[in-house]
Structure formats: C-alpha cells, structure tokens
Amino acid sequence: MRRLATALLGLTLALPLQAEWVFADFEAVSGTPQAKLFPHLESAGRGNLAAGGGQLALVWEDNRDGSPQVYAALRDLGRTGFSAPRRLSTGAEAYEPVVLGLGEGRFLAAFEQDGKVVMRVFSAAAQGPLATLDAAASAQPTLAAGKVGLHAVWGRRDGRFLRLVSAPLTVDGLKPHAGAARAVDTSPAQDEQLYASLVATAGGYALAWEDRRAGHTRLLTATSSDGRKWSEPQPLNEIPRSGTARELGLGRGPGVTRVCLAGDGADTVAAVWMDKRDFLSGYDIYAGVSTDGGAGFGANEKAQDVFGAEKPQWHPAVAVTPHGVVAAWDDPRDDSPDIWLAARAGGKDWSDDFTLDGARGTGSQDNPALLWHGGRLHLAWVHRDEQGGQVRYAQARWE
C-alpha cells in the first residue's frame, strides 16, 4: 500500500504542471465611481488598449465634464497605477476612441468628435493638437501600425450609409497627418459598412467589418499589402444551410455583429464576433483563426463553453499570444454581467471559460478590451454598481 502511494506521488510530481493565465489584482483606471458618471469602453474592433515605449495607454469615453468626451490614462508597464485621466477631445461630444502605440511612449488616438473622425498624439509628457482625419461626416475609426506604416480605416457617410474608407497616416512629432482616403470596396455604396477592425500582418493589413449590403448583416474580410488597394471581400461568418426561419423563406442571415481582430504581427490573425445562429439563447461568441495573414479564416469555432450556452454573450475582444488565442466577453450566466475569457491553445479546442477577481460578482462587469504586449495579457473592462461606473484593468501572466 505504501509502495502504491509512493508511486502515485512520484507520478504526480513527474507530470508537467498545466500552465494557465494568472491575473494580478485589478486596478482602477478612471478614478472613483460617482453617481451619474457613465464610462464606456466602446470602439470599432475594441481597440481601447495599446502599449509601447514602456507605457500602456487606455482610452475611453465618459461624461465627467458634463458631456460625453474621450479620455486617456497611461501606466508604466512595470509599475502598478494609472495616471490621472486626461481629456483628448475638444468638441461638444466625442465617442468610440481607439489607440495605437507609436513607440517611445507616444500614442495615437482616433475617435468620433461632433460627427467627424479626429485624431491626436499624446504621451506622458505632452499632447499634440487635435487633427482632422476626415472632414466629412464619419465614425468608427480603427488603427494599425505595420511594416508599411500607419493606417486608418473608418466609416464615411455616403448618402444614407456609412462606407468604409482607408488612408495612410504619418506622424511628425506630435502632429498626425492623413493621406488620401480611398474606398475599401470600390463597388457602389448600397447599404451600411460598419464597425471595422484593422490589424497589421507580415504582408500588410487584414480588415474585417459588418456589411449590410446583402439585405442582412454579413461579416466580411479583406487584405491589403499597402493599405490602398484591398482584396475582394471574403465572407467570415458561416450561414447555416437550414433552419426554421430560412426554410420559411424569412430573412437571409442569422444575425452577426461587432467583429474584432487581433494579430501577432506575422501571419496569425484571430477574429471573434457575436453570432446568433443559435438564436434561442441570443448571441454566442464565435471565432475564426487565420494562419495566412487574414487571407482565409478556416471554419468558424465556438469560443465559449456550454455553461454560458443558455445566456447571450456580448462585446467580444481578442488577443493573439504565444500561448494561443484568448477571447474575452461578458455574459449574465450568474444573473448579472461578468467578464469571461476562453483560450485556444493549438488545434481548434477552446478551454473552459474562466474569469478573474474584480471582473465578476456584485454589480455588472462588461465591455472588455484585450491586448498582448511585453509578455503580459492586458485586460480592461467597465464595472458598474450602485456607486457608479469605473474603468478597471488587470494583467495576466502565463504560468
């Protein structure tokens, strides 16, 4: 008996420990919660986090100055605690900011201000002038920095519809400048193209967006070697071939929305989105992973586990790490919204869903943003309870 126990102990010690994401304590980003203060982490592609030059930047929108405005806070990557929020917007109202690391501690933010897309460079020490990205009615910018430079994609109003355009960007010190904007898809604007998500790849850029031109919402992707000429759009979400509604000849698609891309800067690009193909329980989180720079995404994969199957999932974000793709979202499986994550390590198998302290429990925790940088997984989200709202942040190591 003793020999058996010793053998089992030896076997246990000999087995490799299974690594997992281990989160540090969460940190408050947007200050103390206050009544009637409403912070929002919303943007095209959920691009609210960026890092570079030893700094992490987080951008969000809230109404602390009496109207919805865009704010940023910076954090030394090696030290806990964020700087006081600094206001980036200057107009009557501003929404949906995204941010990109420029290196040397500088960041470029783009957001909608008074119905037009603007941009601004900032660092811990300085803040540049507000610059116009598009003088026309426009919204929902997304940014990426690749080997061929900086690029932006956003929705420009064309008649009744938003139509995606892209432009190269340059930054001179603290002054950003936009080059000529071109339509991503040159076919006529017949309906909305919404909420694009842009990432840099080894060969240029990969892009995904919501497209309503088929009479229902499809998710489409395209690639570009230079950000100027884009490939023919390819479908990302699979549409079930059968289903009661479809058999009745009603509607054309199952409902998909808010696609988010992340990449490793090389050939891996991951996409996550909300998908209502199983419409009885609302949206589920689906994913596609490309190993050829976004040219093809393979079969759709369900990222979440069965424990959230009876509840709708919302606001998906994604990061590509050396330890696999990580998806984050929120769902109310425990009655109120909490942050949940799942990881895909090799193959097509997704882990059981997991969460972290401070991102579940009392109140609601939603709208996650994710970033992989410097050997850490960076996660931000919005916490709301009776005291008010607060943007929170935590980082995780793979150990």
Partner: protein, 165 residues
Amino acid sequence: MKTTTRLFALAALLLTTLVHADPPSGYAFLPYDQGLRQAQASGKKIFLYFGRYGCAWCDKTNKESFSDAGLKQLYSANYVLVYVDAESGTRLSLPSGERITEMELGARLNVFATPVFLYLEPDGTTILKVPGFKTVQDFRDFDRYVSGGHYRKMKLLEFLAENPS
C-alpha cells in the same frame, strides 16, 4: 432590353427592402429617447419593438401581424411606438442622462433574440417583455393586459387564464 433590366432591378430592390425587417410600414415608430420624451409628456405607455436588420421573425411579424389594420389602429391609439435596431450603433439618451447605443440598450435589457416586444411605463420602467413571433391575437391579449392595468395585480399567464380571448 433596358426596360426589362430596369424592372428586374426594381424587383430586386423591392425584395431587398421587404426582407430588411425595419419597423412595419404605416406605423409612427420613433427613436427610443424621442419616444420616451413623448410618453412622459402624454402619459401614454410605450410599445418598444426590438428588431434586427435581416431578422426573419421580425419579417414574419411585420407581414402577418402588423399588417392588420385593426391592430395598427389599436396600438397607434394606446401607445407611443418605439423601434430599436438591436445591432445599431445609433446613440440614444437614457432617462439617467447616459448616452448609449441602440445595441447597448439591448444588452442592458437582456434582449437575447429578435423580435422582442417590451411594454413600458411612460418613465421607461418595464411592464412586460415578450420575445419572438406573435400573432394579431397575441398582441391584442397583451394590450388588454397592459392597457387594463392587470399587470399590477397578476402575471400575464394568470390574466389570460382568467380572461381568455
């Protein structure tokens, strides 16, 4: 040839329009915050229709239920009519002053499918939430329950059991 092409294009356009599942035609649906203001001014309750672009069951509800002239008259008289596109980024103001998108309103109200129909007090408090395709008779029953104030005393199913159509 040109005429044939034009007719074909027009037919295709009409077909596309029909399956969009926008709010049913002929009804005075308003955006959420505009409807809330109107309800508070008039004291009328709100009928809130959560639809989705390309939604099959919204399409069926529009074609088979909201096409009924009597239902149109009943709901136009009794409610401020509000339509929300559950995937839209259009912004609205909540009674608290918070500005959110139409999709975010759906997330806050846990609108897990479309269509979802909500009956609200003039201040935006939810009275009743019913998901999925509903018949003309269903809508008439919901109206009896809400307009008659029975929701203050009993659940919908209890009301319908005691007061069948």
